[in-house]
């Protein structure tokens, strides 16, 4: 994986830059010592590493503004970072760029229960929002599995999903307003702290959400709060085949039910977790579905009956329904432990998040079985079935020469199969550096140019998080001047990094 060539000239200015940045944020909040910078070398993908030029921890939007203005003047690249849980390398540092870390911007600024909104800083961990409003019977709905650690700023950057997004939507559906700083240091306020505050605006907030830190640095977020559902119950359904489990997913939705969560685990995952939870699964079970229903007690009871009937009609061997909160947590523990359980089976694993139309699940799962044979690597499947968001877990051993490359190629093949099935490269992890070079498989040159033109509107100097998402640089200066008619490849000789 190639990144843009670092600029030696910028790297030579490191000490002078550190002095200037310390004047903005204070002595202790610029990390220049090599040993102290080392923990920031990678995010959730440890396969990709780079030493950041400097790590800077601003304490206010005003400091972010001054930092960006300074970097813009000096032509220094900036990589934003929250807790560094990205699974696509979105926060991978650049050797000639500063890492702008939001850890100190970690306050819940205001809870407005009457208008059902909270204003928070980007460094607030996702779970802290719900904790801050728990006593009001409210919560912040999107719950990526990283929610204990991942920050709301990172969630906005990646448009994070989670187990409950089938029913409740992803991050973008819960953001009412943003304060963001452009690379030039200009502060913008988009939307506001109430429902409909963005009416009549161009939806810049919508395009900022999920832009992976390439367009602006978000410094404040107004999020929607929802009442905590009265009850939640989970149904565990075991099936003799993967096909029947997949068909059941469609049948539940077809019956007019949108579960709060609908998760799929294959036999390999079940075997791995059964060791950890000390529970065995029937030997005839090839796949398990977990279906969570929430709402009022009356509503949930009615839905539980319907889903149980659907499951039986679809060939379920066994259905178990949680009757207490403890039971619900216990049933969910198998899913929550899935990744660590697989981690015990192999030295390393690699997981991507291609997303497909639900009815293509059996087709793509079958292709994966073939790929496993082709690459000689084992894999397991554990994913968000309700929204077709796959998480194939490819097992490998980084110590074995060539194994990582094989795992990466396997992962890329899965993503290509997803796109070919009418799906997309990423459902919730983002493109980052990991899927960057596959973008041309999903999008035409024209599609990508249109996206990059938007980048030019926000950051024409291309200093914010360059080398991510797009396989080529923007060349903002050329856009608008060069224009080749439909179909013709625009920049046939452009160097790719």
């Amino acid at each position: 994986m190639q990144m843009p060539e670092p600029s030696q000239a910028i790297m030579n200015q490191r000490d002078a830059l550190a002095v200037a940045l310390r004047q903005i944020v204070g002595q202790e909040w610029v990390i220049s010592d090599e040993a102290e910078r080392r923990p920031y070398q990678c995010d959730g993908i440890t396969a990709y590493m780079a030493m950041p030029l400097l790590v800077v921890l601003p304490g206010s939007a005003a400091e972010v503004q001054q930092i960006l203005r300074l970097c813009h003047e000096k032509g220094v690249k900036v990589v934003p970072r929250g807790s560094g849980t990205s699974l696509s390398g979105g926060a991978l540092p650049l050797e000639d760029g500063i890492l702008l870390v939001t850890s100190r911007l970690c306050n819940v600024l205001e809870v407005d229960a009457a208008n059902r909104v909270a204003r928070v800083q980007p460094g607030v961990p996702n779970i802290k929002i719900s904790e801050a409003v728990q006593h009001l019977g409210l919560c912040y709905m999107p719950d990526p599995s990283s929610q204990l650690i991942s920050t709301i700023g990172g969630n906005v950057a990646e448009n994070a999903g989670g187990v409950h997004c089938l029913k409740y939507g992803v991050t973008a559906n819960h953001i009412l307003g943003l304060e963001a700083v452009l690379m030039t240091g200009e502060i913008l306020h988009l939307g506001g702290a109430y429902l409909g505050a963005a009416e009549g605006e161009l939806d810049l907030m919508g395009v900022l959400t999920g832009s992976e830190g390439l367009l602006a640095m978000v410094t404040e977020i107004a999020v929607r709060l929802e009442p905590v559902p009265e009850v939640a119950r989970v149904i565990s359904m075991s099936f003799p085949s993967v096909e029947e489990a997949c068909a059941c997913v469609g049948a539940i939705v077809g019956a007019g039910i949108i579960p709060a969560g609908l998760e799929f685990m294959d036999r390999k995952v079940l075997d791995a977790v059964s060791v950890l939870i000390r529970e065995t699964f029937d030997s005839s079970t090839a796949a398990l579905l977990l279906c969570e229903l929430d709402g009022t007690a009356v509503e949930v009871d009615a839905l539980v009956d319907v889903v149980s009937d659907v499951a039986r009609a679809q060939g379920a061997i066994e259905t178990k329904v949680s009757t207490t909160e403890e039971e619900r947590q216990r049933i969910w523990s198998s899913r929550k432990l899935a990744f660590s359980a697989i981690g015990k089976l192999c030295p390393d694993y690699y997981c991507t998040d291609g997303t497909i139309p639900r009815n293509k699940l059996p087709e793509v799962l079958n292709k994966m079985a073939d790929m496993s044979v082709k690459y000689g690597l084992d894999y397991a499947n554990c994913f968000h079935a309700g929204d077709g968001n796959l998480h194939p877990i490819i097992m490998y051993d980084a110590a074995k020469p060539g194994d990582l490359e094989k795992a990466e190629a396997f992962g890329a093949d899965v993503l290509i199969a997803c796109v070919d099935a009418g799906g997309v490269l990423s459902g919730e992890h983002g493109v980052g550096v990991e899927k960057r070079d596959l973008m041309t498989h999903q999008f035409t040159e024209i599609d990508l140019n249109q996206q990059q033109m938007v980048k030019c509107a926000f950051d024409p100097a291309e200093l914010l998080n360059p080398g991510k998402v797009f396989p080529t640089a923007c060349r903002c200066a050329e856009f608008g001047r060069m224009h080749v008619r439909n179909g013709a490849v625009r920049f046939p000789d452009i160097p790719r990094f």
């Binding site: 506001g192 409909g196 505050a197 605006e201 009265e230 929204d387 077709g388 992890h429 983002g430």
Partner: protein, 399 residues
């Protein structure tokens, strides 16, 4: 009304749209982009060389009910779309209003493309989200005649910038959309609406707040003018039959007086009236406003605006978060400015839904945005349409 010098172009394929745009761009002509032209009164008046009508692009590419997704041409009418979904017991959760009663046009011809371009969301916004939350992907043609796609058809997607959101609500100023992929949902099996006489605005707002704090999935909370000119509070619950019955009991316990209950058909008709602002019944010479504001600010805002003569008739939707009102046309130029200033003072957004062309041209139908945001909007428009040939002036007031 859109003013055009020459004939109206009505293409029937994406390629035709691209050719027309390429020709227009080459000739330095501007284009007024519409669906079937039922909502030309929305936004600022447009002056363009020619009109590009996309109502002919009305094919359904696919509809997969089990996957909750439909992709159709922008010209498909909302009536046809909703009828098709209803046959599979599904619906558009964002409940798109037509507002054609305001414009004196035929609502049956309002299109999917128009719903996405205007991004108007109906009463269910408080529970289910806005138009933008259901647009999974788009295909469109930019100002240089390039056909591009954005987004996709899956429920989750973070692959590249979400241009689908950007074009939603852009009133055709970024691209001529040709097809749209929507997320749809199963329609609730049962619905009913509880109706009680309105109290003071503050009483009603407090009631809204109390109801919304409960996890009942209330999908409509409004205060409207009833047929007998009295004001009433209406509360809609939807879901399974037992679920709705259960919620009704809980809500009845919260209400100051025993409610009248409108079930199924009656409830549907009632909310269609709210969606279409029927109870405002504006006179021909009245301006119509839509103000989005924090619900807590609503009572004081409405009282002050009424005292100042800026509100003649009004009703409240979105649990107090939006006020629809009429304004008498005595001195609309003066009052429009005054009303918008009152809204700005509390951070509200006052949209002029209906007004004569000169007034919309002068004040702008949309509330002004801060200078920095306006500049970024301009650069973003140029990223799609560098020569500014699409719907010139629709969203911005020309200097």
């Amino acid at each position: 009304m859109t003013q055009t010098e020459t004939t109206c172009l009505r293409p029937s394929s994406t390629q035709d749209v691209a050719d027309i745009i390429m020709d227009a761009a080459a000739a330095g002509q501007t284009l007024a982009i519409t669906g079937n032209g039922t909502r030309q009164g929305f936004g600022n008046p447009v002056t363009a060389s020619r009109t590009l009508e996309l109502g002919g692009l009305d094919q359904v590419a696919f509809y997969e009910p089990e996957d909750l997704v439909i992709r159709a041409g922008v010209g498909l009418t909302l009536d046809e779309l909703e009828h098709m979904l209803a046959q599979k017991s599904q619906y558009l959760p964002f409940e798109p209003p037509r507002y054609t009663g305001l414009y004196g046009t035929d609502g049956r011809r309002s299109t999917l493309g128009g719903a996405v371009a205007t991004a108007l969301s109906g009463p269910r916004r408080i529970l289910c989200g806005a138009v933008r939350d259901f647009v999974l992907g788009v295909e469109g043609v930019n100002g240089q005649g390039d056909v591009f796609k954005a987004g996709g058809r899956t429920m989750k997607n973070v692959t590249g910038y979400d241009l689908s959101k950007l074009v939603t609500g852009a009133c055709g100023t970024l691209a001529a959309l040709t097809s749209i992929t929507l997320k749809v949902l199963p329609a609730p099996r049962a619905e009913l609406t509880l109706v009680v006489p309105a109290g003071t605005l503050e009483d009603d707002r407090a009631l809204f707040e109390k109801i919304r704090a409960l996890p009942l999935g209330v999908s409509g909370l409004a205060r409207r003018v009833a047929a007998d000119e009295c004001c009433e509070v209406v509360i809609r619950v939807e879901g399974t039959i037992p679920g709705v019955a259960g919620n009704r009991q809980v809500l009845e316990g919260l209400l100051p007086t025993p409610p009248r209950v409108a079930e199924q058909e009656e409830s549907r008709a009632l909310w269609q009236d709210i969606r279409e602002l029927s109870c405002l019944a504006p006179r021909a010479d009245e301006l119509v406003w839509r103000v989005n504001l924090p619900a807590t600010a609503m009572p004081v805002f409405v009282d002050e605006a009424r005292r100042a003569g800026c509100i003649s008739r009004f009703f409240v939707d979105w649990a107090g978060g939006v006020v629809f009102s009429t304004m008498r046309g005595v001195q609309p130029e003066v009052d429009a400015l005054r009303y918008r200033k009152m809204a700005e003072k509390i951070g509200a957004r006052a949209m002029l839904l209906r007004a004569p062309d000169p007034i919309r041209s002068q004040f702008g139908a949309f509330p002004p945005v801060a200078a920095g945001v306006a500049a970024l909007e301009r650069r973003t428009r140029a990223a799609f349409d560098p020569a500014g040939i699409f719907n010139p002036g629709r969203m911005t007031v020309q200097a």
